[in-house]
C-alpha cells in the first residue's frame, strides 16, 4: 500500500501576547489510500491545528507534507487549487461552515461550478446524485440550509466535500454535535462511502470510542505532539501513552450487564 499523505515533523506555533504557543510540535504520520486515521486528544492538544495544516488553511512553520507524492506545502496558485479539489474538510458545526441562507443546491453546486465539474444544465442532476450518496432525498436541494435539521446539514456538508471527488476528507469533530441516532447513521454512511470509492479519512475527535468505531489506525495527541500511533485494536487494548490510557479510562460505560 502506498501512502496517500505523509507528514514529517510538522510544526506550527502562534504568537500569544509576547509568548509563543506551540500548537503542533513535530507531528509525523501517514495515511494510506482507503484508510481512516483517527486523531484523538484532549482539548488544546493541537488536533484541530493539525487538521488545518493538512488542508492548508494555515501554513506550517516546519516539516514536510507530501500528498500523492507531491510537496503539498510548496504548492501555490493554480496547482494548489487543483490539489484542494482532492483534499476536503468537514467541520463540527455545519451551520457555521455553510451559508445558512443559501439553498442546499447552491451549497453542493458551488464546488461543482468553481472547479468546473458540472455545467449549469448538468448541475441539478449532479447535486441530486451527491444528495443520494449521503442518504438525502433530491427534493432537499431547494431548501435553505437554515430550514433543515442539524443531521441533514452535516450530510449536506459531506455531500459538498464529496462533490470534487476528493481522495482525502479531513473530518474535524464532524459528528460530535449530532444526536446519537443521527451520528450512528452518518458514521455508517461514511464507512460505506469509503468501501465504495476507496477514499481516505482523517477523523479528528476527542472521543476515542467514536474514533475506535471508524478508524483503522489511531494517533493520540497531547500538547501538540503525537504521543502514540498504532492499529486501532492495539491502541485500545494496550495503550502505551499516559494520554491514551486517560482517554480510554474516561469513556463513560453503560452499567455492566448482570452476570
Amino acid at each position: 500500500m502506498t501512502a496517500l499523505l505523509v507528514a514529517e515533523g510538522l510544526g506550527k506555533s502562534f504568537r500569544r501576547g509576547g509568548a509563543r504557543l506551540v500548537a503542533v510540535d513535530g507531528a509525523s504520520f501517514s495515511v494510506d489510500g482507503g484508510e481512516t486515521l483517527g486523531i484523538v486528544g484532549p482539548s488544546g492538544s493541537g488536533k484541530t491545528t493539525l487538521a488545518r495544516l493538512i488542508i492548508r488553511l494555515i501554513d506550517a512553520d516546519t516539516g514536510t507534507l507530501r500528498f500523492e507524492g507531491a510537496d503539498l506545502l510548496a504548492l501555490r496558485g493554480k496547482a494548489l487549487r487543483a490539489t484542494r479539489k482532492r483534499i476536503q474538510m468537514v467541520f463540527q458545526d455545519p451551520l457555521a461552515a455553510l451559508n445558512p441562507r443559501a439553498s442546499v443546491a447552491d451549497v453542493i453546486g458551488d464546488p461543482l461550478r468553481i472547479h468546473r465539474l458540472a455545467d449549469r444544465a448538468n448541475r441539478p442532476a449532479a447535486v441530486a446524485h451527491l444528495l443520494d450518496r449521503v442518504g438525502l432525498p433530491a427534493a432537499l436541494a431547494s431548501r435553505a440550509v437554515h430550514e433543515i435539521s442539524g443531521g441533514q446539514r452535516q450530510r449536506v456538508a459531506i455531500a459538498r466535500a464529496l462533490a470534487t471527488e476528493p481522495r482525502l476528507i479531513v473530518l474535524d469533530e464532524a459528528v460530535s454535535a449530532l444526536d446519537v441516532s443521527v451520528r450512528a447513521h452518518i458514521l455508517k454512511r461514511l464507512v460505506e462511502l469509503q468501501v465504495e470509492s476507496g477514499i481516505s479519512y482523517i477523523f479528528v475527535s476527542h472521543d476515542i470510542a467514536v474514533v475506535r468505531a471508524v478508524a483503522h489506525r489511531i494517533a493520540i495527541m497531547d500538547h501538540g505532539r503525537i504521543v502514540e500511533t498504532g492499529p486501532t485494536a492495539q491502541v485500545i487494548a494496550a495503550p502505551q501513552s499516559a494520554t491514551g490510557k486517560a482517554l480510554i479510562a474516561a469513556v463513560p460505560r453503560l452499567m455492566p450487564a448482570e452476570d
Binding site: S43, P252, L254, M255, E258
Partner: protein, 260 residues
C-alpha cells in the same frame, strides 16, 4: 425518601411567529429529596425546557400549564436551586472576577457581606478542587481553561447551599477526560451536601454512570422512567432501546476491520 417536587400534567409552549411550539407535553414526574435523577433525550426532546421550568427561568412569553408542587415550600431560584449550563464561557461574566461571581450568590441569598462571602467563595473554589483558590479569586474567566471555568460555574451554583442542583449538559462541551473529572466532582458534591441532582444529558452511558433513576424524553414527552440499571438493561420502550443501540462505547463492534 421524601418528595422534593411533584410535577403534574406540565406543558410548556413557546410562541414562534404566529404559531406555538410545544416543548413539554403533559409531563408527570416526582423528584425525591437526595436522589440523582438523569434526564436523557435528543435535540428537541424538551429536556432543557424542563430544567428552565424548574429553575423559574422560562421566558415570559412561554405558556405553562399544569402544576409543580414543592412540599418544602416554593423554592427561590439561585438560593434553593442552583444551575450549571453547558457553556461556562456564556454563563460566567467575562468582566467580573471569579471571586465576585462565586460570592454573589452568598451575598444575595445568605445575607453575607462581601468580605465574608469572599472567604466562602475561596472555600467553594477549594471544594470544586481548583488549585490556588486565593489567587483565583482575583482572576477572570478568560484566564481559565474550559474545565476550570465549569468548576467555577459549579462553585457559583452551590454558593447559597441549594437543595436542588440542575446540570444541563454541563459536561457536553468538555473533552472526555475533563468530563469524567467533572462527573466525579458532581457525584462527591451531591453526596457530601445531600443535594438533589437533576443531570440533563444526551449521553445514556453518562446518565447511567451518575444517576439512581433515568427519565427518557422524546419530542416533548416523557417516554419512560425507571432505575438506571433497569433502563439500561431492560428498557420497556423501543425508543430507549434505540438510544442504547446507537450508543458507541469501547464494546461497540467497530464499523471497520483491521487492514492488512
Amino acid at each position: 425518601m421524601t418528595v422534593l417536587t411533584t410535577i403534574e400534567d406540565l406543558s410548556v409552549a413557546f410562541r414562534q411567529g404566529t404559531s406555538s411550539v410545544t416543548a413539554l407535553d403533559g409531563i408527570n414526574l416526582t423528584i425525591k429529596n437526595g436522589e440523582q435523577l438523569a434526564i436523557i433525550g435528543e435535540s428537541g426532546s424538551g429536556k432543557s425546557t424542563l430544567a428552565l421550568t424548574l429553575a423559574g427561568l422560562l421566558p415570559a412569553s412561554a405558556r405553562q400549564t399544569g402544576t409543580i408542587d414543592w412540599p418544602g415550600g416554593p423554592p427561590i431560584p439561585g438560593r434553593d436551586i442552583g444551575m450549571v449550563f453547558q457553556d461556562p464561557s456564556a454563563s460566567l461574566d467575562p468582566v467580573l472576577t471569579i471571586g465576585e461571581q462565586v460570592a454573589e450568590g452568598a451575598v444575595a441569598h445568605l445575607g453575607l457581606g462581601w468580605k465574608a462571602a469572599g472567604l466562602r467563595a475561596r472555600d467553594l473554589l477549594a471544594r470544586v478542587q481548583l488549585p490556588d483558590p486565593d489567587s483565583l479569586l482575583r482572576a477572570y474567566p478568560h484566564q481559565l481553561s474550559g474545565g476550570q471555568r465549569q468548576r467555577v460555574a459549579i462553585a457559583a451554583a452551590i454558593a447559597a447551599g441549594p437543595r436542588l442542583l440542575i446540570a444541563d449538559e454541563a459536561t457536553s462541551a468538555l473533552d472526555t477526560i475533563v468530563q469524567a473529572e467533572i462527573v466525579t466532582l458532581l457525584r462527591s458534591l451531591v453526596a457530601e451536601e445531600g443535594m438533589t441532582l437533576l443531570f440533563i444529558t444526551h449521553d445514556i452511558a453518562l446518565a447511567s454512570s451518575l444517576a439512581d433513576r433515568i427519565a427518557v424524553f422524546r419530542q416533548a414527552k416523557l417516554v419512560e422512567i425507571g432505575a438506571a440499571a433497569d433502563i439500561t438493561r431492560q428498557p420497556r420502550e423501543p425508543y430507549t432501546a434505540s438510544l442504547l443501540g446507537a450508543h458507541i462505547d469501547l464494546t461497540t463492534p467497530p464499523l471497520v476491520g483491521a487492514r492488512a
